[in-house]
Amino acid sequence: MEADGAGAGLADATTPPPGVRNDQPPPADGADLATDARSQPVIELQNLSVTLRGHPVLKSLTTRVTGRCIGLLGPNGAGKTTLLNTLLGFYPSTTGSAKVLGRDIRERAVRQQIGYMPENDSFIAGMSGVNFVRYMGELSGLPPEQALERAHEVFFYVGLGEARYRNVEAYSLGMKQLVKLAQAIIHGPRLLFLDEPTNGLDPPARTRMLQLIREIRDSGEARVIISSHLLRDVEECCEEVLILRHGEIATYCNLAEQRRSIEKFLLLQVVGAPATDAGPDPVDAFVAGLRDRGCEVGMQNRRRLRAVLPPTMEVRNVYELATALNVQIRGLDHKRDSLEDIFLRAMEGDHRPGDGS
């Protein structure tokens, strides 16, 4: 699908702001970044521990996170939110250190380069949308005229152009999410923290949000960290994932590499001819036939199968069997390890999460 910018049509052109090029010298108050910012680690943790109210929540985390867009995952209580809050400077670290974009998080100036989109409702009642975002822009150091310009620009970019003069408290849930994104990007930060960005959004709005995130990622201007429970969202946008469990790092892996790995299986979508009273259901027969030939087959529901082919079998053989049994193969895909599998493997060794914390 073509990227179409924000959903509200491309009728109004936008002149590119002056001076925005990748060969510009770094901004005055910005981080001392090397010019090839992309290879620099976004986050570096060194034995980072955080104890809240006597409970150790993060236990000696050490890692180096690179990549343009990183997913932060973990079951409830794993320390995801705490890590995010610590990197934002909301909680002090107990021991160890953390660096964001090469600077220690304890330096106030590092937050100049950070944009944050909270999970919960976050706004100031009584202000219009554009006024609110402009205020946030000025608080981030933009001079007043620039702040106002960019506030409008950002509103159109996220697709809220029509509603920008209305008061924020009157916005719908989806609009409030977009405003949170707008205030996070108005100052053009180098690093974005997005906490459950698609929370409560209906499907078209969710698609748009994810598209915006991908655009921001692809622009090269900002690195993005997404914390979410929706693995699909993370899969669509992120190249790497950091999975936490019980306050420790369970896995840190690169999705693209995982997808290229050799381990593979097929996802099949099948439709069988209606079963006659006499014979067995064609789909069941198909599954049995595959198993007979040495495949591991799992049925997600009546239409979807997962099959791991033995070395002796090829896709063509699957088609042969299907044709013979009058089963249509309506969908076929080679699935590398999906994020769900990676996540479940990372949780291995866990008892059933009955503590529900």
């Binding site: 910018g5 924000a6 491309l10 936008t14 002149t15 590119p16 702001p17 001076g19 510009q24 901004p27 005055a28 108050d29 910005g30 809240l52 109210r53 809050n85 934002l88 400077g89 909301f90 909680y91 106030r108 100036a109 937050r111 100049q112 950070i114 944050y116 909270p118 409702d121 976050s122 706004f123 100031i124 009642a125 009584g126 202000m127 205020y135 946030m136 000025e138 608080l139 981030s140 150091g141 933009l142 001079p143 620039q146 960019r150 159109f156 970019y157 408290e169 205030q183 990007i185 108005i186 053009g188 930060p189 180098r190 923290f193 915006l212 655009e215 921001i216 622009s219 201007e221 900002a222």
Partner: protein
């Protein structure tokens, strides 16, 4: 023809300094404040006493008519330190109290109510910056109706009045400034503390009113019943009165030692500040 696609661009322009951020908070808070016509009217009214006193001083020295009528104005209308103290203590103390009441309690609660604090604190702003930004608004507004007119009136009188009066009374402007600031900080910080802890502006305002007026009334009652000055130790109004008079080298209306008055204000301010910092967190520690 060139077609410009809307895409994401970062910001590479100039950035303002960190001190500027504090002023941004003040600017926006002030802007919101003066949107209300009621407030503009009220604020204008706060200047009425200043203007009246100004006219009084002017008239005192410029009405030939009075000398012709042989009215011994010099004996009736004496402008001395007491004049100014009366000015500060009566109309202006009450007005500044009212102004703090109107402005203060609504300053922090809107930011807390809808969870905007993380948005502030995720930027290069500290809690201190935030507090200073809000405080600055109150300090400036309250200054404009306490020491600023008092000092101006002083110098105008010095200009219009008898020779040498200025030199004799030089301690006055300093007294006004210092004591007014003590008063301003006490009022402002208390109002902000109430705003941080009480969600509804009106309830915070009533609490503010109650707190100061009650302590004053209580102080007076205790003084009446038991004598001495102990009752006043808890009253900010009385402390203010004591401090002004003391700093101006004038007789003190209540025989409370000025050190107690200062303690009263300091303790209240410190307590209020601590309470504010307790509340303006980005996240509650679960």
């Amino acid at each position: 023809m060139a077609v410009y696609e809307r895409s994401y661009h970062g910001y590479d322009g100039e950035l303002t300094g960190t001190g500027n951020r504090i002023l941004v908070i003040s600017k926006f808070t002030t802007r919101e404040l003066f949107r209300s016509r009621m407030f503009c009217a009220f604020f204008a009214i706060c200047f009425v006493p200043s203007v009246s006193f100004l006219i009084a001083i002017y008239l005192r020295y410029n009405l030939e008519m009075l000398t012709e009528l042989q009215i011994p104005i010099d004996e009736i209308f004496i402008i001395d330190a007491g004049f100014f103290i009366n000015f500060l203590q009566y109309p202006q103390a009450s007005l500044s109290f009212l102004l703090a009441l109107v402005v203060g309690p609504g300053m922090i609660s809107p930011d807390l109510r809808d969870n905007a604090m993380p948005l502030y604190l995720s930027r290069a702003l500290t809690k201190t910056d935030y507090l200073l930004g809000k405080l600055l608004v109150l300090v400036v507004l309250l200054s404009l109706i306490t020491w600023v007119p008092a000092v101006l009136l002083f110098f105008i009188h010095a200009y219009l009045g008898p020779e040498g009066w200025l030199v004799d009374n030089l301690q006055l402007p300093f007294a006004f400034i210092v004591t007014s600031f003590a008063w301003i900080f006490t009022l402002s910080l208390t109002a902000l503390a109430l705003s941080a802890w009480i969600k509804w502006k009106q309830v915070a305002q009533i609490t503010f009113f109650g707190f100061f007026v009650m302590s004053s009334a209580l102080g007076e009652a205790v003084r009446e019943i038991f004598g001495g000055w102990l009752g006043s130790a808890f009253s900010a109004f009385d402390s203010y009165a004591v401090l002004i008079s003391y700093a101006a080298n004038e007789p003190v209306p209540i025989s409370m030692p000025p050190s107690v008055a200062i303690m009263n204000m300091l303790v209240l301010s410190a307590l209020a500040t601590a309470l504010i910092f307790q509340r303006i967190r980005a996240k509650e520690v679960a």
